[in-house]
């Protein structure tokens, strides 16, 4: 599914099911919590996110420079972040803990440091 919203493209739907949570590339629903994350060489802003277990949230991912990735394997979330587009990923964490996310598309010297954490609380 692909459509334009406020001039920004929404990335195609892909649903991932796993033990760590439920994630989908979707548009945000009215009233749903949205967290915007900007990727640029070589960090994410913000790079520490706190979510509540069982509470849906949409991550709005964008890149300030080059093609980046967003991968949180423990929560079964991954997406390409294409410059000029917003990638929306809906996630419903189903376990508590601190989970790493990182860029999984090589973007230069410093790529390995491009990480962050998602803290899921009760």
């Amino acid at each position: 599914m692909k459509r334009n919203t406020r001039g920004l493209k929404i990335i195609a739907v892909a649903v991932f099911l796993g033990l760590g949570g439920v994630a989908a590339h979707v548009a945000a629903q009215p009233g749903q919590q949205v967290i915007r994350i900007v990727a640029k060489k070589f960090d994410y802003t913000p790079n520490q996110i706190t979510l509540k277990k069982g509470v849906p949230v949409v991550l709005e991912l964008s890149s300030a420079d080059v093609l980046m990735g967003f991968n949180a394997p423990d929560l079964h979330v991954r997406a390409d972040i294409v410059p000029g587009q917003v990638t929306r990923v809906r996630i419903v964490p189903d376990k508590t803990g601190t989970f790493a996310f990182f860029c999984d598309i090589f973007c230069g010297s410093g790529h390995e440091n491009m990480t962050g954490t998602i803290n899921v609380i009760e």
Binding site: G69, P73, A100, F102, D104, F106, S109, E112, T115
Partner: protein, 297 residues
């Protein structure tokens, strides 16, 4: 009494771990080159990151040269040497990238052994899809045969998404289709083909498909780099052996919050760095790995 290299290593107590890659069957020796099975050994060097500068290795400008000297000092020279990627440290500047590759090529030209196989790591190839690498070192994926072993070099880095890709997987399937199921197969690649620690991106996104293609073959062993430390893992009957780096060691998977380099130890320079020799006992499908230091003592 004649003592071959393998026996000598055992007698000297410096032999490595023997890994049987298969089920003890006798491989069909004649394929590809038609060469008969014969024991030999090769040397694996990895993750040199030529051009890197920083506290994790204040000696970065000489470490590669010292490794070349160390390899040249091996009493019996190997049949060939393989570099399993990250020859150079990445740079956004295409001119600087080529300068680093030229310097690397010139340094390793001093190796006594002239049969040297290269493959890229993500630092060499991911920013330009392997363009500069190919200018200096040739193809990023290829095969060769040596004394009854079929070697397959897989490129899982030229695609910056850490993927082998459809085209190369088809090429791999076609290559394997020519081999008997008990062929001696060694795969060289940069990143782990299995999910070693995805939280640190220590995986290949479509690596499971390559492993799936290899799985019907009873004698397969994989040597790789990327994680800057010795590591051994089995996926079914297929052994995967990661090599140390020649620039800085990385922590054990998941042993600390971030995959930051282990600090340089001034009291023990080159600690955690090294290269390895691999003795191939072809008829037994065994690979005897001996980890070697950059500097002796």
């Amino acid at each position: 009494m004649t003592v071959n290299r393998r026996e000598f290593l055992k007698l000297a107590g410096i032999g490595g771990v023997v890994f049987a890659s298969g089920l003890g069957k006798t491989a069909s020796a004649a394929y590809g080159t038609g060469a008969a099975a014969e024991d030999f050994y090769f040397v694996q060097l990895s993750d040199c990151h030529w051009g890197f500068e920083g506290p994790p290795n204040p000696d970065a400008k000489v470490t590669l040269r010292k490794a070349v000297t160390a390899a040249n000092s091996l009493e019996e020279q190997p049949d060939f040497i393989v570099f399993t990627g990250d020859l150079t440290h990445t740079t956004d500047d295409p001119k600087e990238r080529r300068k680093r590759m030229a310097q690397f090529r010139d340094i390793v030209a001093d190796l006594k052994v002239k049969t040297v196989h290269f493959m890229p790591g993500e630092h060499d190839a991911s920013l330009d899809r392997g363009e500069a690498f190919q200018e200096f070192f040739g193809k990023t994926h290829y095969t060769f045969d040596h004394k009854g072993v079929h070697f397959i070099v897989l490129d899982n880095v030229s695609d910056p998404r850490a993927m082998i890709g459809e085209e190369q997987l088809k090429w791999l399937a076609a290559d394997l289709a020519q081999l008997p199921k008990d062929a001696n197969i060694v795969v060289f690649t940069h990143r782990p083909l299995f999910d070693l620690y995805p939280q640190w991106d220590w995986a290949t996104r479509d690596g499971a498909r390559a492993v799936g293609l290899l799985m019907p073959y009873s004698n397969v062993t994989v040597f790789y780099g990327h994680i800057h430390q010795e590591h051994h893992h089995m996926t079914g009957h297929i052994a995967h052996h990661a090599a140390k780096s020649l620039i800085f060691p990385l922590p054990a998977p998941g042993s600390q919050p971030k995959r930051t380099p282990l600090p340089w130890d001034a009291a023990h320079p080159y600690k955690g760095l090294g290269y390895r020799s691999v003795d191939a006992e072809v008829d037994k499908h065994e690979y005897d790995i001996t980890e070697l230091p950059v500097e002796k003592g």
